[in-house]
């Protein structure tokens, strides 16, 4: 009976929580950052980047949902890499996922601090950065159900503020509309190279949606909740992204939009309606909090999974006896995110986060190709089957490489530093950690569940 109660306590997440986890992490990208794509590629370049990256994310979500629906434990892409590619790849994917989310969390907190500071010169950003990170850590510490229910509410409010902005422009009535796309947009000023350079900012609309796979083992029914929550979440983001581009491009002149810190808030100000401006201020703050909240959830699950498998020291694997959360991992990652946030280097933090994410996407596509070879259709029970295989994997590899090439145009030094960091971390793992790895226990759960692979 106690075991049943415990199971009920941990397996409570449904499709709305998965939707909230996915959209909550990503929605912040609509409120800030994506508009740098307009500066690099012009108005048309930006929308091309958004839709091209949407194709990549649809492919990634299909692949991760199929693989996550058969994995025997939490950990998302890390767990997939562990069973499909082996320990060294698993270590790298795990580290990339943790850093992707820890840095995104720090960036969100920096933006929360900056927005609050913008209210009055007497306010400081630092206490609000610290408070938001501590409060969200507290929520995560006390359990996934409460924190993701909170995420559902704040994500829904933030999304509603974007829809409110859309309707406040009277876009549906040509006589009264405030949208002036023809006169305010600038087309494709830098041609194809501009589109290439804007790709990395198109990612902002979707970065982190693949993290829904982390919650697989905490779902009531992962076979249903994961695909439904993730795919509805992706559609929400695609619609939200297009609406955001439409409203901002139609209300703000392209040159100004390309350098705006809070494009949706600026668009709200351009409507001249106070209630819309207040709604977007609240929406921007809440979207940052929702994103940081989801990031803490995902980074701590990934770190805990690394530790549970002895890839990292196993002290971080312990669960809280009452709240059933990876409490040591949650607390361990807090000072790391705080340290990144204190640097205040928003673009550098986010670039490293996107770079890590793109490497994970390429690895995910490689894993999918290998997974279908190891376990062809019909050999094991899948909760979801990705259609058109191997097209999603090929599309992901090609588009991720295109985005990396675009990123290299502006952030070559950062990218080379990132490669060096992961190479050094891999050397450390092979030399110092590999001997501690429990190689028998490492793959036991998968082998017990699926039997031996075909290759």
């Amino acid at each position: 009976m106690d075991k049943e109660k415990e199971q009920l306590h941990t397996n409570q997440l449904g499709p709305i929580h998965i939707w909230a986890l996915g959209v909550g992490i990503v929605l912040v990208g609509e409120f800030m950052g994506w508009n740098f794509a307009v500066a690099r590629g012009g108005s048309i370049g930006a929308i091309l980047a958004i839709w091209t990256m949407a194709i990549m994310y649809i492919s990634i979500v299909m692949m991760t949902t199929e693989m996550a629906s058969v994995m025997p434990e939490a950990g998302g892409q890390y767990t997939m890499a562990k069973y499909i590619l082996g320990p060294l790849a698993a270590f790298n994917v795990g580290l990339m996922v943790v850093l992707e989310y820890a840095m995104l969390e720090a960036a969100d907190a920096v933006v929360v601090g900056d927005i609050i500071k913008s209210l009055h010169p007497g306010l400081s950003a630092i206490p609000f950065i610290v408070l938001s990170l501590l409060f969200l850590t507290f929520m995560n510490y006390r359990g996934a159900y409460a924190t993701l229910t909170l995420n559902f509410v704040i994500t829904a409010v933030a999304f509603a503020s974007v829809i409110l902005l859309l309707f406040s422009t009277n876009f549906y009535d040509p006589a009264r509309t405030l949208i002036k796309l023809k006169s305010l947009t600038n087309g494709l000023p830098y041609g194809p190279l501009g589109v290439l350079a804007s790709m990395q900012f198109g990612i902002w609309f979707f970065l982190g949606i693949e993290g829904t796979a982390m919650a697989a083992t905490e779902c009531r029914s992962a076979d249903r909740a994961l695909p439904v929550g993730t795919i509805v979440g992706l559609l929400t983001l695609l619609i939200g992204g297009t609406v955001t581009w439409f409203v901002c491009s139609g209300l703000i002149e392209a040159g100004k939009l390309g350098s705006s810190v809070y494009p949706l808030y600026d668009a709200a100000l351009a409507t001249g309606k106070l209630y819309v401006a207040v709604a977007l201020f609240v929406g921007t703050t809440l979207s940052c909090l929702a994103s940081a909240n989801g990031c803490i959830n995902d980074a701590s699950r990934a770190w805990s999974a690394l530790s549970r498998d002895t890839i990292m020291p196993n002290v971080f694997a312990a669960e809280h006896p009452k709240f059933k959360t990876p409490y040591r991992s949650i607390l361990f990652l807090l000072p790391i995110s705080l340290a990144f946030a204190f640097t205040g280097l928003l673009d550098q933090i986010v670039t490293f986060s996107i770079f890590s994410a793109l490497l994970v996407y390429i690895m995910t596509a490689v894993m999918m190709l290998r997974f279908r070879k190891m376990y062809p259709l019909g050999t094991i029970k899948r909760g979801y089957i990705a259609p058109l295989h191997p097209l999603p994997a090929v599309v992901t590899i090609v588009l991720a490489c295109v985005a990396l090439a675009g990123m290299f145009l502006t952030y070559s030094f950062n990218m080379l530093s990132g490669v060096l960091f992961y190479a050094l971390a891999s050397c450390w793992f092979v030399k110092r950690r590999f001997k501690f790895l429990d190689q028998k226990g490492f793959l036991r759960a998968g082998v017990e569940k699926w039997g031996a692979s075909k290759i």
């Binding site: 009055h120 010169p121 007497g122 306010l123 400081s124 206490p127 609000f128 610290v130 408070l131 501590l134 409060f135 850590t137 507290f138 510490y141 312990a318 809280h320 006896p321 409490y327 607390l331």
Partner: protein
């Protein structure tokens, strides 16, 4: 006192309260693990 400064102090105070809660619960949990 300036209301904005007060807001900064309130944020620090709340942060300290949460940090103390987390630290207390963490120590309590670690002790129970050892027992």
């Amino acid at each position: 006192m300036d209301v904005w400064k007060l807001a900064n102090y309130a944020a620090w105070l709340l942060s300290a309260v949460i940090a103390i809660y987390l630290l207390r619960d963490f120590i309590k949990t670690e002790r129970s693990h050892r027992d």
